[in-house]
Every structure is written in C-alpha cells, then in structure tokens.
C-alpha cells in the first residue's frame, strides 16, 4: 500500500474493517498497514471515522467485519485495551486518564506494571518509572500534583504513562486540539524523535499544520472510507484539502471589510475582576461597530474570565462595560444577552448548554422567559443550517459529540443579528468546513455592525481576519496591534508566553 518499496513487514494490518453504530456506518471497508518507526497522520473531518478506526485497533470496539493482524502472522486477537497494551499498542485519548490530586510520579506508578509493593523514595534521576519523563519533559517536577500542570504538560505525562508500558505503537487522538502553539510544536518534535527510535505513531488530526510538521505518511478518511494513503511529500496542501473535504473548495471564509466607523460600540473601562484561578486588572478596550477584535493568549491568563464578565455571567470588582454608551456591567445577564450580545462560552458542554434537555429547548434557552419554545420545524431548519448532526430536535444535548455541541451553541447564539459577539474559542473541535461556516457567520455579523470580541489561540486565523489583535497575559493586556502584514505568529507567540523581553 505504501510507495516505499523496501520496508519491513507491517506491525499491524487492518483488513477490510467495517464497524457500524446503530444505523450509521462509522468505518466502511478500510484496509491499512501500520509500520514501526513511521508517523502516520490519519486525517479527516469530524465524524470521518478516524478515532473509531483506531479504537478498533486498540480494542475499545470490536469490528463487525474484517481482520486485524498485529505483530506477524500469528494469531494475536485484540478484544480489549488490555490485549492491545500487552502487544505494545498504547493510545492517548482526548480526555486524559490522570488523577489531578495525585503527583506526576504517583500517576505514573499507578499505570506502571513494575510498581514495587513498597514505594520507596528514589532520587528522581535514578527512578525507573521517571526515566521516560526525564527524556521527554525534564521540566516537569515529578512531585507536583497533576492538577497544577497545564493541559500540554498533562498530555506529556499521559504520554509517558503509555510509553512506560514499553510501547511499540502509540496512537494519539487529536493531541494538538488542546495545546498552545508552542506546546504543539514541542509535541511535533517529540513525535518525530519517537519515530526515529523505532516506535510507530498514528497521529489522528484534522489540522494540516500537524501533518506538515511531523507526518511520514498520510491517510485520509472521509465518511468512514479510506480515501488516500500516500507518502507525505507526494501531496501538497491543496491536494490535502481536496481529499479531506471531497470538494475543490479550498478557500477560507472571506475576511470582512474594515469597520465602517471608529465609534466604539463595546467599551471596557478599567475592568478588574477575579475568579478562583484567574484575575483581571484594569482592562481597557474599545471595539468599534463592525470591528473584529481578537485576544490571543495562553489559556488560563484571564481571557475566559473577561468574556464571562462582559457577558454578565461573572461579577466584576471594578470598572464598567458599555454597549452603545449604556452600562451593561451590573445587569442580570438575561437582560443584556440576546438580542444584544451573542455569547459563545469556553467549554460549551459545561457553560453553553443543558445536557439533559433536548436540542429544541437548548436552542430556545435564551427565549424561554419571554417567547417560549420555537416551533419544531424552525428548530430543525436551524439545526440543519448550522450542520448540527443529527438535526433531531428531540435528541438530548448531552448525546452530541464535542464538535456538534459547539455548533449547537453557535446556532443558538449566532442565529439572530446582535450588537456584539463574544466568541471564546469558537472553532474548538470543529473541522475545516464547520470552522469556515462559523467564521463566515461571525464575519457577516461584524459586517452588519456587531462589535466582535474574539478570544482564540488560532493565531493564523486571527492574523488573517482580525482587525485588531491584543495579547493577554496574567490578566493584563500586554500589547495591542492594528493587524497588518508586519505582524507575525512568532511575535504574538513570544508575547503570549512572555518571551519577548529576552
């Protein structure tokens, strides 16, 4: 299947695999070989069947049809993750299996097969359970609680945990979706070094940057089928996009025109606030009608608190928020939200929906006190318009996948035109097509006069579309730029991490 002629026998071969869940066919007759010492990028849209295919290999699910051969011709049946682990296959899922209240070392010991009965305190340098950690992430203190680590560091700990099981194949399920750009770059480097040391890596992703950075071979899935399986250098960006999306639509969302006036529409004046983990000090921002104002920053530096305060969800300590000159800071959020302010919160599963209610009620959440629920036909039309799958108004919100839940919240918040849009990581977990649709919607709201406050870590998207970019760190706006081609990723990245002083 690969074009490399003289390669050793594959470590794992999947032959004619089919898997259906209820009526939907998730994986449809896929055959693929996986080699040690090679990074295979498994690329595709949300719901293309990438994760399902790898969960079949890892023993989470069993295939309906087809055969999985691991490690030579002998029979090595995989019917549970335990079987897979025994064969040297490890998988890092999107939500980590770590315990925040225990230290890094204790988390590693928990999964380590050779943990002694009495755990002695050993010098970290000589501790066999910490060997991998020292290779990968020497900056992580093994006695620190996992809960105090950043998401990127937690992912590295999870990875060490898997590698401690002397793994021959590591499957990473969309590992960069939770990482900052700098953390993602470090992960790319680490994946490369794994492959150079003879470990096979399957990198599930829908980001092209991941593919460019570290893939040897690219397999592309669409609607459960394997569309392409090629060497990385033999396909270019446009070819990738075409293969992933099945269309020639390679363009991004049209960026909006410049704001019509510089009359501030959304004003934040001397704002201070604090929550358990974040503080804001003396934030001053003016966003004009039609302006797209992006805030870049490593998550946890106060951006989401800022959005919550502006949305009226969180109390402010000092300062004011004005919309068209009227203070909205000290009003109940119900009074200022729809129709005036659209709010796409961080972590929509927790902050943006009621999991136990159906999609119809979730769409109508903002209107329940005034209008009541919407007619069923309208609900279905709206769900379809924003491509929420499945568009079934009676389905519970909690049953949706992460990407579709994000689309549901966006459908509710961006259905009508308002005066301001607060978008916190609005495209998190979305594939190219959905991302494009969300951007197009936000930009058209800006074109219609809304002030847009856009909090994101997608630097490339910001540089392409935002009118103004501010960088936030430790609860302060560090710098604010008019967007121009002089502004680079590196410059913003350095400001985000505080490395610009050097």
């Amino acid at each position: 299947m690969t074009e490399t002629p003289a390669r050793a026998a594959p470590f794992a071969s999947l032959l004619g695999i089919c898997k259906s869940f209820a009526a939907t066919c998730a994986v449809d007759d896929v055959s693929i070989d996986i080699y040690e010492g090679q990074v295979l990028a498994l690329l595709g849209e949300n719901g293309a069947g990438k994760s399902t295919l790898m969960k079949l290999l890892y023993g989470v699910h069993e295939p309906d049809r087809g055969k999985i051969i691991v490690d030579g011709p002998g029979e090595n049946p995989i019917s549970s993750p335990l079987d897979a682990m025994r064969l040297g296959i490890g998988m890092v899922f999107q939500n980590f299996a770590l315990i925040p209240a225990l230290s890094v070392r204790e988390n590693l010991l928990l999964a380590w097969p050779d943990t002694p009965v009495v755990i002695k305190k050993i010098k970290p340098q000589n501790d066999p359970v910490l060997k991998k950690l020292y290779e990968i992430a020497p900056q992580i203190d093994p006695f620190q609680k996992v809960g105090s680590l950043s998401v990127g560091e937690q992912q590295l700990v999870e990875l060490c945990k898997i590698l401690n099981l002397s793994t021959r194949l590591v499957i990473l399920d969309e590992p960069t979706s939770v990482l900052t750009p700098a953390e993602a770059e470090r992960l790319h480097g680490f994946v490369r070094s794994l492959a150079e040391n003879g470990v096979g890596v399957v990198f599930i992703t829908h980001k092209f940057s991941d593919v460019k950075a570290c893939a040897d071979r690219i397999a592309i899935m669409r609607r459960g089928q394997l569309i392409e399986d090629v060497e990385a250098q033999s396909i270019d960006h446009d070819g990738l996009v075409r293969a992933v999306m099945g269309t020639d639509a390679t363009s991004r969302a049209d960026p909006p025109g410049p704001p019509k006036s510089d009359q501030p529409r959304l004003q934040i004046r001397g704002l201070s606030a604090h929550s358990r983990n974040e503080v804001l000090e003396d934030i001053n921002l003016n966003i004009a009608s039609g302006e797209i104002f992006a805030i870049a920053g490593v998550s946890g530096n106060g951006q989401s608190l800022l959005a919550e305060v502006v949305a009226g969800v969180h109390q402010l300590d000092d300062g004011d928020v004005l919309l068209d000159g009227t203070s909205i800071a000290r009003h109940a959020s119900a009074q200022i939200m729809k129709p005036h302010v659209a709010y796409i919160p961080e972590a929509p599963r927790i902050n943006g929906c009621v999991e136990d209610l159906d999609l119809g009620l979730n769409l109508a959440l903002r209107d329940l006190s005034t209008v009541g629920t919407k007619p069923l036909a309208n609900v279905r039309a709206e769900l379809e318009k924003f491509d929420v799958r499945p568009p079934d108004p009676a389905k519970k919100a909690g049953d949706l996948s992460g990407g579709n839940l994000q689309k549901l919240v966006i459908a509710r918040e961006l259905a009508d035109y308002g005066k301001a849009v607060l978008a916190v990581y609005p495209t998190m977990g979305l594939d190219i097509e959905a991302t494009k649709a969300v951007y197009a919607r936000i930009f058209s709201m800006a074109a219609a006069g809304a002030a847009v406050l856009w909090i994101s870590e997608e630097l490339d998207d910001m540089l392409e579309s935002a009118h103004t970019i501010a960088v936030m760190r430790s609860g302060h706006i560090v710098e604010q730029f008019k967007n121009s081609h002089h502004l680079t990723r590196q410059k913003i990245g350095a400001l985000m991490t505080g490395a610009h002083d050097a």
Partner: protein, 307 residues
C-alpha cells in the same frame, strides 16, 4: 512536689488515651473508607455490634483479647450490609449507612438486655504494680492497657501504608476517580469492598475496646454517637490518617476532663457537662471547615455522594 505534678500529668495522659482509643480505631477505619470514596454512617452501628459481641465473648470466655477479636469480627460482618447495598445494589451511601446504623442499634438493644449489669475484666495494665519511682511513666503505665499503644501504632502504620505502598496508592486513586483507576486495570469495586470491611473491623474493634477495656460494662447505645463523630473527625483530620491521632486525642482529653470535673464534685448539670466533648468537636469542625474551604483535601469521588 515536682514528682506529684509529673504523676498528675501521667494520670491525665493515661485517661486521655484510654478515652480516645475506641475513637481512634473507628476514625481510622472511617478515613480509610472515605479515602476510597465511601462514606459509612453505619460506623456507629458497627461499633455497637462490636461492643456487644466483644462484651459477650469476654464475659463468657473471661478473656478480654478474645472479646476484642470477636468485636472486630462482628463489626466486619455488619459492614457487609453496607458493601452489599452500596457496591452491589448501588444504593445511596448515606441511606445505606443510616440503615446499617439503625440495624446495629436495634440488634444490640434487643440482644444486649441480657448483658446489662454484668462485669468484665479489661486487658492487663502495662505496669501491674510498682514503678512509683518513675515520675511520669509509673502512673501512666499503671492506667494504660495494650489497646492505647496499639491505636497509636495503627495510626502510624495506616498513615505510612496509604502514602508509601502500591496498594495504598490504589486506594487513594480509587477515592479520587474510580473510572481512571479502572482504566489502569485496577478494580475499584474490590478496593472499596476491602475498605468497607477493614472499616467495619476497626469500628468493631473500637466498640469492643469501649465496652471491654474502657468502661467494662455494657449499656444500651453506649457508643453515644462516637461512630458518627468519627465521620466528622475524618473531615477535621483532612482525610489524613496521621492527623486522626491528635484529633481523637483532643476529643479524649475533653471527655477525660469532664470525668475529672465530675469527680471533683462540680455540681453543674452532668448532662450538660457530658455534651462538652461533642460541642468541642462541632467547634473544631466549624474551624476546620472554614480553613478547608480554601483548599479541599476531599477525595474527588467522595464528592459525588453529596451530589
């Protein structure tokens, strides 16, 4: 004069330790359970069952140690009800704990009538006679049995075990997240079963020490809520077995003080006086709670019980 003072301190220490010993065992058992994500209000019932079984066996065999053994077993057997309800039938832990408590109270009240008024001999004192020359240790050892040092050793051992062994790590991880523990190939249900059973054994032992070794009588509902106090003391101790010891000794000291005051002929209402240990526990609990609100040591899966 100075030797008199030292002797007095020795007597007070002995009284404090003796009063605290039953509570130390129950609280250790309860804290082990809570560290694995299980709250057991049934500790009160398990303690009572242990107290009665221990007392009964001690009177029949005339052996205090056999009595303590029987008490521990009785507590362990009653804890199986909590295991069955919570782990097998997935019942609510609070409701199941209350059920176990009521079973314990009812059973012992009914069966215990036959034992009211009987006498039993306690464990031997560590120093039967002599030793008056030893200023502090003489009086202390004369009024201390093996149970007290055993309680201190148990607290030290459990504290070391849970922090420094593989099995201790498994117990702690079970309390934080049964799901993650399971994904590491460790069965959290089995660990919780062990924890409930060990908790029952320790509660039963504590109860038996109370009736056989400390008061040397049987009276209906003689534990007077110590099993429930233990649930609160676990929180005061911040779920750390090492801190169970000072916390329980403080309760023991207050109780010893009440007895001494009564012995000195204070005419203040004896009923009100005997609530003193409980009032102090509530005060300490409030204080501990205010402090704990800042950084919670509570095992994560235990929170689910209250949701």
């Amino acid at each position: 004069m100075e030797t008199d003072l030292m002797a007095l301190v020795g007597v007070w220490c002995a009284a404090t330790l003796r009063s605290a010993t039953p509570l130390i065992f129950v609280t250790l058992g309860e804290s082990l359970g809570q560290r694995t994500g299980i709250i057991n209000l049934g500790a009160e019932g398990e303690m009572l069952v242990g107290a009665l079984a221990g007392f009964a066996v001690a009177t029949q065999t005339d052996s205090a140690s056999l009595g303590l053994l029987a008490g521990a077993l009785a507590g362990g057997v009653l804890s199986l009800v909590h295991s069955a309800l919570v782990l097998a039938a997935r019942a609510n832990q609070i409701a199941s704990g209350l059920a176990v408590m009521i079973i314990g109270i009812g059973l012992t009240s009914y069966i215990g009538r036959a034992f009211v008024g009987k006498k039993v001999s306690s464990l031997d004192n560590l120093l039967p006679s002599g030793g008056e020359a030893l200023a502090f240790f003489g009086p202390f050892l004369q009024q201390t049995t093996l149970a007290g040092p055993l309680a201190i050793a148990a607290a030290a051992f459990i504290s070391w075990w849970i922090n420094n062994t593989r099995s201790g790590l498994h117990w702690r991880s079970t309390g934080e997240s049964a799901e993650v523990t399971l994904s590491n190939g460790i069965n959290p249900i089995r660990i919780r079963f062990y924890a409930i059973t060990v908790g029952g054994l320790l509660a039963g032992l504590g109860g038996a020490i109370l009736s056989v070794d400390y008061t040397q009588t049987w009276a209906q509902e003689m534990t007077k809520g110590r099993g429930l106090i233990a649930v609160g003391l676990v929180i005061v101790a911040g779920w750390r077995p090492a801190l169970v010891l000072p916390v329980c000794l403080f309760f023991g000291f207050t109780e010893a003080a009440v007895f001494k005051l009564q012995a000195m002929g204070i005419t203040f209402s004896s009923h009100l006086l005997s609530t003193m240990p409980y009032v102090t526990v509530i005060l300490v609990l409030i204080f501990a709670h205010l402090r704990a609100r800042k950084s919670s040591q509570m095992p994560n899966d235990l929170k689910a019980v209250f949701q």
